[in-house]
Symmetry: none
Subunit: 255 residues, 2 copies
């Protein structure tokens, strides 16, 4: 019968044994394995996972077990399961590699996506305490504030708030209004190069506005970075915070 026929097949014994009785549930091991592979780019964003049948064969487990793992990954937003079609890696999982010279547009292009941005606010304000201390200026001093939504192929991936010392960078507000990127605007006011000095990372749940702008559920945390950029002379040119939707975006640090 059908049963026998299946049994007769050479039983391609799990190429990738999962550990039974290891104290870790099989579906967790599988989810973990797949998570790692997706993070490493296999399959690539937009790509398709093996079918559930293929996966259950590969790991030597029942299809139900694979489904439990996929369910987990799906809830975490790492895969998207479509009935009748298969499971896919969402196109917008992006590793944000933090280095001294990280630039938004370069970061996005490295993922073969088209960077763009939407300016939400651009104005001059008085420095709040946290901003003043980040920029090393006195409280109430003038700062140029830029809030910007970063997009990769039209999908929001970052929501940044940038603060620049207005006194030290005269004409920056106009430059930011006209230049296509922050890097270019800074160049126009004399900052030919700048480096990331320190990045602090935290996480919290988004408020309503953040969730809407970044198109993420309110139940998924944002990664929050706070950073300071300095010019080649070591003078602080920017204090900024940025919010990234997890797990669409992960941050990678390579010393």
């Amino acid at each position: 019968m059908a049963k026998n026929e299946v049994a007769v097949t050479p039983e391609p014994a799990a190429r990738e044994p999962v550990l039974r009785q290891s104290g870790v549930a099989l579906w967790r091991q599988i989810a973990h394995a797949l998570r790692g592979e997706i993070g490493a780019g296999h399959p690539a964003p937009g790509g398709r996972l093996p079918t559930e049948a293929q996966l259950s064969n590969r790991f030597g487990v029942n299809r139900h077990t694979v489904r439990r793992a996929l369910e987990e990954l799906s809830r975490a937003g790492l895969v998207r399961v479509e009935q009748g079609r298969g499971s896919f890696v969402p196109e917008d999982v992006i590793d944000y590699t933090v280095g001294a010279r990280t630039r938004f547009s370069e970061w996005i292009r490295r993922h073969n996506k088209e960077p763009s941005g939407r300016v939400l606010r651009l104005l001059e304000v008085a420095a709040e305490p946290a901003v003043a201390s980040g920029l090393g200026i006195r409280q109430g001093a003038r700062v140029v504030l830029l809030e910007r939504l970063g997009l990769a192929d039209g999908t929001p991936v970052s929501l940044g708030t940038h603060h620049f010392p207005a006194a030290r960078l005269s004409g920056l507000l106009e430059a930011l209004r006209e230049a296509p990127t922050i890097t270019e605007a800074l160049r126009r006011v004399g900052v030919s190069d700048y480096l990331r000095q320190v990045t602090r990372v935290s996480a919290r749940l988004p408020d309503a506005r953040e969730a809407e702008l970044l198109r993420t559920p309110r139940s998924r945390p944002l990664l929050i970075t706070e950073n300071i950029n300095v010019d080649r002379a070591g003078a602080i040119v920017e204090y900024g915070t940025a919010r990234y939707p997890t797990p669409r975006v992960q941050i990678v640090f390579e010393p």
Copy 2:
């Protein structure tokens, strides 16, 4: 007249009289009192101050006067005032500085706290796919698995899962059982030094066990790091993941 009527009310006389006409402004006296109490741990970090109305009642002054005092404390960073919620004593945030040579105990000591740890699991298992790929060994090879809760002055600050290649580091399991720190255990099996090669950061909400172990609400995200440590020759000696409670812990990158 109005004045008299007010005077007539039983006037539950400020339980804690402030000295009028003493030459010291009332708001200063109040700020001083609150500063002392917060310093003494009442309310404790993370705790909530009485409402402005309660404070103005307690000191027998107008709410404006209390607000002036809170403003002062807020400026000094001793309290954090949130509209619609109340005033809080900020929790001491521990910066987790990620560098090539980050060590748990040094990190904690840098914050003038006493590091300790609680081993939750220590055993030898076969490498799951993701671990194997992280360690650069074949799947199913033996790895030493260590799960450990990191504490600073008794407060949980990290929950780490460490994987070591057993073949390359024979005797490690016993060393880990006896040595007080991972660094020391590695030294005993011949790894005199190791460096952090790469760190990936993400965030998600904790499950029930994680929330309990790290003593954090389930509504507050965890920072998740995944990292690889190599010895001086570049051989991988550890693949680990760690979970940190926000906002108690932040991660700092210094390139």
